[in-house]
Symmetry: C2
Subunit: 388 residues, 2 copies
């Protein structure tokens, strides 16, 4: 299997939402197609993926650095030693040639789209859903019957926030979600608590509601919120502080009895190792939310999971940021703790195909070959344009 | 002072050199011009800067994210409250709007070129060299009489490495450099030591020679080299290990008695804070090499220096990566420990103008307004093309 062409376009996110830090109305995402020389049923096997959500399209880095390196490589150097199929880890290593160490930011997102597109190609070549390919490769047991899923919403919108939030959480319950996540930090504490209490009331208890500050809090506000939040017995308290402030994360873990969650803005095994070594996270309760779609792809992400396990965390403590088909297959394939969903926002990338049912708090991956992105309404037309 | 236009081009580095990790023959650098509405002697004041060396051109991030944000902003929000001049910190904050926390990589380099171009515009507007503007802004005493400089070379080249290295170090001595740095890690230890001994012999002692592994060593090799290097009494042992492996850096600092240097691949105050908190560096000897041209510019870099001082390091312990006019003015303006020079390589960005004399191990900034990039042979033609 050889790569004969790599295409990329960037696609805007629809829906004008914002968290405590970021307005997403100008966000775009890179959609990448890896065209191979292998044909199935008369058409080329084309792997497709994107760089998750929230860290911008990365067309510049893809076009100027990574794609030329991969296309210039001897194809044999990109293949697994046995079988002649593409090896995503080798494609990644090639894409990263002449890159200095450190600085795991935008390039990690650029590489992700490319590396994950190789996994999509491998799964399509095997005519199976990506979770099956992933599980076979990593020697894991795929959760084909479904993985836990929660609805991430509760963004700040203009208008009566409590009434709108109650309606939103009710919609999630009606759609089969048993847990929800809402944003905090965009309003003063007292108003945030009124929103939280409304969400807990509709969701049916604090253990069904997580809160997310998107790294916006300084020390005082993080600890003030920790004290105010603890009595609610929340599902988790997410990204209270700067994701790289490991000392403050440790202080927060010391101060807050409930589960805390972080990691969605760490993009390398080394950064995650630092979090686990210095961040005071507790293997018996805390959660890690790194996202393969922002972190050089599945190769690096699997290294993060291995590092977690070496340090006493179960892989069920991994709940990736990024509620979409890529992570559904990764979570199911690696047997991780669960998936995020963004019903109605971050389109056309967010969420799942209609065939992925949400039942009893689980989401069940569908059987389309690969990540199944071509079956996702709204995304299909962009993929058609990309591979046309 | 308002920004009326921002232009960027990328310029290839000439000279096919490599260190233990990276081949620079495909490297490009972003050159940015900030065109203002202010005129001096009938021509617009145009600030010019680039994103240092070694982390690639960042045209995609500049064109797709940062430049549109700055051009869309209300000009008053980019000005200092008093005087109406551009405020580089506000320009940076605007360029970073809707960027999530963490992930300090490529975007930090993109922002640097833009932020530093604002400093160049301010200095040109004041008709003074940039170091004077910088010193006045930060309340420091400018080292107008010159700053310590060393010649960074000793790259691996094909052919007889020892003979070529002796000739290279002799050239640096003849040019007025009293200290040199050579690469290590690209050959087995014994051959690296033969190169090192040759360099020490020509330079006139181990205290005149630093070595740089460019983050390539694993634990065993870093510690093996540490043991082998210590008897030479070197100037410093640079970036032995992954720049983000703070635990291993601490282990190395424990094992190696001489000065160690690192930081050129850390691009935010938070990453530097982690290095200082967890990396075991010793304020009485170790050196920090962060580079404003890769780290969101001078605003963030000054924050790094402040964090160093809070933790007991003198600002003389700061020796920025990146031997070029931008850092010469920053080192002179902030009163830091010294500058790197790359005689003959990384052109047209590396090195200094002919008016910047090297005498007795010091380099003396020249008097051109701003960073003086227009006076640098080879770079002048690219700037002329950019601002034409």
């Amino acid at each position: 299997m050889r790569i004969v062409e790599i295409r990329e376009i960037d696609v805007p996110l629809s829906g004008a939402i914002s968290n405590a830090v970021v307005d997403f109305s100008h966000h775009r995402v890179s959609l990448v197609a890896v065209v191979t020389d292998v044909r199935r049923a008369g058409v080329p096997v084309v792997g497709v993926a994107f760089n998750s959500i929230g860290r911008h399209a990365q067309g510049g880095i893809l076009r100027e650095r990574m794609i030329p390196r991969v296309l210039a490589a001897d194809p044999a150097t990109l293949q697994a030693p046995e079988g002649g199929l593409l090896d995503p880890a080798r494609v990644l290593a090639c894409a990263m040639r002449d890159e200095k160490p450190g600085g795991h930011g935008d390039r990690a997102a650029a590489a992700s789209a490319l590396e994950l597109a190789c996994w999509d190609a491998l799964a399509k070549h095997a005519d199976e859903p990506a979770y099956a390919t992933i599980a076979r490769h990593f020697g894991t047991v795929a959760a084909a019957a479904g993985v836990p899923v929660y609805a991430a919403g509760g963004y700040y919108r203009d208008g009566d926030e409590v009434t709108a939030l109650r309606a939103e959480v009710r919609e999630y319950r009606d759609a089969g979600y048993e847990a929800v996540k809402i944003k905090i930090g965009g309003l003063p504490l007292e108003r945030d608590l009124r929103r939280l209490e409304a969400a807990i009331d509709v969701a049916g208890g604090g253990s069904r509601v997580a809160v997310d500050a998107n790294g916006a809090f300084d020390r005082d506000r993080a600890l003030t919120y920790a004290q105010a939040l603890e009595p609610y017995g929340l599902r988790w308290y997410e990204e209270a502080v700067d994701p790289l402030d490991f000392a403050l994360t440790a202080e927060l873990a010391e101060a807050y009895g409930g589960p805390i969650a972080t990691g969605e803005n760490l993009f390398s095994v080394q950064d995650v190792t630092n979090l686990l070594r210095f961040g005071g996270l507790r293997p018996d309760r805390d959660l890690l939310q790194m996202d393969a779609g922002l972190s050089y792809g599945l190769t690096e992400y699997a290294g993060m999971i291995a590092e977690m396990e070496r340090r006493g965390f179960a892989r069920a403590a991994a709940l990736p940021h990024g509620g979409h088909m890529l992570n559904l297959h990764i979570v199911a394939g690696l047997g991780l703790g669960g998936c995020e969903a963004y019903p109605g926002v971050f389109q056309p990338f967010g969420g799942y195909t209609d065939a992925c049912r949400v039942e009893g708090g689980l989401i069940v991956p569908s059987d389309e070959p690969g990540f199944g992105l071509e079956a996702k309404g709204g995304l299909d037309q962009h993929i058609a344009r990309l591979v046309a």
